[in-house]
Amino acid sequence: MTVSQLPPRLDTATELQLIRWKQAQFARISEQVEDALPDLMAEIERTVSEMSSLAAGKAQVRIDPVWKTIFEPWAHKLATSVEVQFKQEVGELTAALTEKGTSKDALRAALPALATAGVLAASLAAIPSVLGLATVTTTSFFVFSSASISWPILAAGGAGLAVATLTGSRVIDRLADRNRVHLVTRLQSRVRTAVFGYGLAAGERSLVTDLQAAALRTLEAQLEIT
């Protein structure tokens, strides 16, 4: 590439604006996920309370199927609502920058640096960069499969009963046998790891990092198609 072909460089003020926008989006996604947590906790309690004793016993041995049944619909519903929000944010950002006279070429050139989010590397790698993504698919199509989690030993530990307080539900009080209580505890403990990555080292995938990576991919796609 000759010098004359180099894309225009973003001015520092715009680059600052982009970085702070990204940071604000990431924080907003975490907050949106936190706000949806009580629904997930309540769903875990409801599902377990409706299981037969036999099914609850089997789930203790093989917890993944019941986890998947509860977690993935909730995650997809959440991802869809997060996606609606961040598509709107991306649209507003690109409109504001265009109005300010920032060229799309300069924005595209700045994107790789913006996406250099070390702790998102795993999630970014898992979410393909798709031309036209913003128009043809939804985040929930590709975001997060619970099979991608590496469950740490500690995630199955003692946070479960405290987790239950988040729901404010009394369903758990009606769970007659210890088996069901233990199952609820295990499932709710998993939420910490699967949703926020608690117990994992920074850089490992969680639902939040996948949603954040998807936000960056949406921005990329928006810049490619406009």
């Binding site: 520092t12 003020a13 680059e15 600052l16 970085i19 702070r20 940071q23 990431f26 924080a27 996604i29 975490s30 907050e31 936190e34 947590l37 906790m41 640096a113 913006l114 250099t116 989010a117 070390g118 702790v119 998102l120 740490p152 003692g158 946070a159 405290a162 987790v163 307080t165 988040l166 709710q188 939420v191 910490r192 926020f196 990555g197 608690y198 117990g199 994992l200 080292a201 920074a202 850089g203 939040v208 990092t209 954040q212």
Partner: protein, 345 residues
């Protein structure tokens, strides 16, 4: 050739009416975005800050909540007494004032002010838990205190260098010392900002990040000032630009949300972790704002150094003039055509 003037009354009127705005150290026409001039802080401004903002740094040092809304009002009120201050500062954010200073032109804070900030920063090191004080395996508290001692010594000399006969040699030596300190602090900050494989962080760790970034900004500002006094204006411009780029990269590498979730991970239940994450996110937002402010300030210092070069102005005289002005909180640096008759306030 003089470059510093009282702020023209017409320009102040534009700021007061909202037609012009102070963005960092630059006064811009709101509708056209045209740069109308640069503003340089003076000792008068710093004295006003010391009356109000300084007390926040002296009193206990709560680094992440140092300037409350009430204190902001106090600062505005104090500046209002200095006439032109209020009009210029009405749109400015004061978040980073007590520890980072406000990046209005080249820092001209005297040793007393800089030492107060440094003391506040250093005092906080003692308040951090032992495991936080040991930043990774790189440095221990005693070494950090030695580093702060060296910084203090350099800042003390910097205070008087503009009036010394041997200012060229001394300023040059100070610049090299400060450059070393910048480098050391930069390494420590990088270590503190990248948690590696840690699965959780304490809230105090965020205080440590703030502490190191505040000390780093103090040293970067001081180094640019030393270069101006040593009349090495081109290097002052280049160093300011270089540090601006480094701070921009630092901000780009900072992932506040990830750090906030690591703080939340230390809680044993989700209700607490939600509250912790939100508190940590607010604190990290302030840290990011502080680094963003540093980026803007250093860019303006680079532009100012270039203007001094273009105007054929002595860096030492410029710093000396701003450092000794006590009646007016700000002086005006005009980029091109200079006013025939500078307005007095």
């Amino acid at each position: 050739m003089p470059l510093l003037y009282a702020i023209p009354a017409a320009l102040q009127a534009l700021v007061t009416s909202g037609q012009a705005q102070l963005v960092g150290a630059i006064i811009k026409d709101v509708s056209t975005g045209q740069i109308l001039g640069h503003v340089q802080q003076t000792r008068g401004f710093l004295q006003a800050m010391a009356q109000v903002g300084g007390t926040a740094a002296q009193g206990g040092f709560a680094p992440l909540g140092v300037i409350s809304a009430i204190q902001n009002e106090q600062i505005k009120s104090t500046l209002g007494q200095l006439q032109q201050g209020m009009a210029l500062m009405q749109n400015l954010q004061f978040v980073n004032l007590a520890l980072s200073g406000i990046g209005i032109g080249v820092s001209v804070a005297g040793f007393a002010m800089m030492n107060m900030r440094l003391n506040a920063i250093e005092r906080h090191i003692g308040a951090l838990r032992e495991d936080v004080r040991e930043i990774g395996k790189m440095i221990r508290e005693t070494e950090l205190r030695r580093l702060f001692g060296d910084i203090r010594s350099a800042l003390k000399d910097l205070d008087s260098v503009a009036t010394r006969n041997d200012h060229l040699a001394l300023a040059s030596s100070l610049q090299r010392q400060l450059s070393t300190h910048v480098s050391a602090l930069s390494d420590l900050l990088r270590e503190a900002m990248l948690p590696g494989k840690a699965a959780s962080l304490s809230m105090e760790h965020l205080d440590l990040i703030w502490t190191l970034s505040s000390a780093l900004r103090l040293c970067e500002d001081a180094e640019v000032r030393a270069l101006l006094v040593s009349e090495d204006l081109a290097h002052a411009r280049d160093y300011a630009s270089g540090y601006q780029v480094e701070n921009l990269e630092r901000l780009r590498d900072l992932n506040p949300d990830s750090l906030a979730r690591l703080v939340a991970a230390s809680a044993s239940d989700l209700t607490t972790s939600v509250a912790l994450r939100r508190e940590a996110a607010r604190n990290l937002d302030r840290i990011a704002d502080g680094i963003g402010g540093t980026v803007e300030s250093l860019g303006q210092q680079a532009a100012l150094a270039q203007m001094l070069i273009d105007g054929g102005v002595s860096g030492r005289e410029f710093v000396h003039a701003a450092s000794t002005e006590t009646d007016r909180p700000f002086l005006f640096v005009t980029p091109g055509a200079q006013p025939d008759t500078p307005a007095e306030t």
